[in-house]
């Protein structure tokens, strides 16, 4: 029983970090129709900035600066690179491919700087744990859940209550009609990229916190696990991204937790599980769990 609770809590912690990343994917997709393959590199950039800055600025200062810088880099990539690649209806496909190029460039440079090192981020949680009744939880996981919940609630408040959020949702429904209302599409999507970049930097901190060993040059690849979360949520639905992330996080934690009972599936099935879940969900619901509402009437 304790084992199950442990695993569930781990799953929720993992899921909330994936949710930070998946929410970024979804926001970018909604705003620009682009699948951002550059997300892993933005996450790595955020983590790297915290790693090199925390000695001078302290953890909180380094994290704040990393979030802001990563957000600005993401926004600038969109505004200065992607938005210049075509403006017609096929532009999103071209821009998606361009994000792969951006990812390779950024990751290569960061990997060169990181080398073979394992960088610590100087987070205040370290390896301390807290007893919560029957289970013992790493403080880093509690922090991951709490901070993610706050950040996600903040992002949802932006979607719902700000002119930018309304612009984003209107433009996602009908970009031309939104433009006719005076919505500046270029600005709306650049801000979407900023938000996604900031969330990715935040996610980096929790991905490499205890019990993970630290930031390494391959950390960015973990962002790929949020892809199935976003896709099985319907790709354009923030709520779907949350549910998908929890599903992926729980699956991964449970599969890892019961690894010994699942040895028929072979070692390391936990890494494959997110994709297996995605394929299973898509077989049943090909458009994802929360695809665009079928409310439209002709």
């Amino acid at each position: 029983m304790t084992g199950l609770l442990d695993n569930l809590l781990n799953g929720v912690a993992l899921g909330s970090v994936y949710a930070l990343i998946a929410l970024g994917f979804v926001t970018i997709f909604k705003a620009s129709g682009v699948l951002s393959f550059a997300h892993g590199s933005l996450l790595l950039l955020g983590g790297y900035l915290v790693a090199v800055l925390h000695d001078d600025l302290g953890f909180a200062g380094a994290l704040a600066l990393a979030v802001v810088v990563t957000a600005l880099v993401a926004g600038a990539l969109d505004r200065l690179v992607l938005q210049r690649v075509g403006t017609d209806s096929h532009a999103a496909h071209v821009q998606t491919i361009v994000t792969i190029g951006i990812d390779i460039i950024l990751v290569t440079d960061l990997a060169r700087r990181i080398g073979g090192d394992l960088l610590t981020l100087g987070d205040p949680w370290g390896d301390s744990v807290t007893d919560l009744g029957p289970v013992t939880v790493a403080d880093s996981r509690i922090a991951a859940i709490v901070v993610s919940a706050v950040a996600i609630a903040g992002a949802f408040a932006l979607f719902r209550f700000t002119p930018w959020g309304l612009s984003l949702r209107a433009a996602a429904e009908d970009a031309e009609a939104a433009a006719l209302m005076g919505v500046r599409l270029t600005r709306v999507r650049a801000i979407a990229w900023c938000l996604a970049g900031g969330l990715a930097a935040l996610a980096a901190v929790f991905l490499v916190a205890f019990p993970a060993p630290g930031l390494e040059r391959t950390t960015g690849q973990i962002a790929l696990k949020a892809f199935p979360a976003a896709i099985l949520g319907g790709m354009a639905s923030p709520v779907g991204a949350l549910v998908g992330s929890m599903l992926i996080g729980l699956t991964e934690a449970l599969v890892a937790g019961y690894q010994s009972d699942l040895h028929v599936l072979g070692e390391g099935f936990g890494d494959v599980a997110p994709y297996a879940v995605m394929v299973l969900v898509l077989l049943v619901r090909p458009t994802g769990l929360f695809a665009a509402r079928g409310a439209a009437r002709v």
Binding site: P163, A170, E173, A177, A178, L180, M181, G182, A295, R297
Partner: protein
């Protein structure tokens, strides 16, 4: 009611406008027309004549369709609109209701209306409320459905919402692209009444229509666009009596069709 415009009585001037799509396909050739302050001008024409293209040129959305103005000017009062983005038109007071209504189907009626005001930054809540009251006075049915998804409204209600959304930007000139398209005759009649009411309130209207009967009954002045060029122009009443318009756009049995 909008306050007196700072630049006197602005009019929309389209002057010898040429538009091409994809650098090759000529859509408009040397098109000129004027919509005076507070006037109603109808633009008639068959499918593909270039009516929507003209509105895109005014609103600045040609680029979304790989189109461009290759010659001529578009001015609203002192504001040059050619080569500008859609925000410029909205800020100048020129707002378009696109063909096919194009409401934001997944957003509520209320959110659609709020979206209509997005082009005007920093508006006092009182002004927004005033604009919304005006819309609800024109379309009481929308007031009853503020929290309903726009996609679940009927076609006529969606057209009302599309017009109401545009009015939220407090336009001085409203561009209407085929507001009668796909609506039942009774609803066409209702929309015509609303357009007349909006005009009475002081907003100029450029009405693009295939329903010539309805358009000519509302307009002071009308133009007929034929494959990218202005064919006929004149006072709406006169145009309605010309043989060409009667034959081509009003049809032989069209007397009762939408003409109020």
């Amino acid at each position: 009611m909008p306050a007196a415009p700072p630049d006197g009585e602005p009019a929309l001037h389209v002057e010898s406008l040429d538009v091409t799509y994809g650098r090759a396909l000529s859509a408009l050739r040397s098109v000129s027309l004027t919509v005076p302050h507070g006037g109603v001008v109808a633009l008639l024409g068959a499918n593909g004549a270039g009516k929507t293209t003209l509105l895109r040129a005014v609103s600045g959305t040609l680029r979304l369709h790989r189109g461009a103005i290759t010659a001529g000017r578009v001015r609203y009062g002192d504001t040059v609109l050619d080569g500008r983005d859609p925000v410029a038109a909205v800020r100048a007071g020129v707002v378009q209701v696109p063909e096919g209504r194009r409401v934001f189907a997944g957003l509520t009626v209320d959110e659609n209306l709020r979206a209509g005001g997005l082009g005007l930054s920093r508006r006092a809540p009182a002004q927004v409320r005033q604009a919304r009251d005006r819309v609800f006075a024109l379309f009481p049915r929308l007031a009853e459905r503020t929290h309903q998804a726009a996609g679940l409204l009927s076609g006529g209600e969606q057209q009302m919402l599309a017009i109401g959304r545009a009015l939220m930007a407090a336009p001085r000139l409203l561009l209407l692209d085929e507001p009668s398209l796909g609506l039942a005759p009774q609803m066409v009649h209702r929309i015509a009444e609303v357009i007349r009411e909006i005009h009475t309130q002081g907003t100029a209207v450029l009405l693009v229509e295939q329903n010539a009967g309805m358009a000519l009954s509302l307009a002071d002045h009308a133009h007929v666009l034929e494959v990218g060029e202005i064919g006929l122009s004149g006072p709406a009443g006169e145009l309605a009596r010309t043989d060409a318009v009667r034959r081509l756009y009003l049809g032989e049995t069209a007397d009762g069709q939408g003409a109020a």
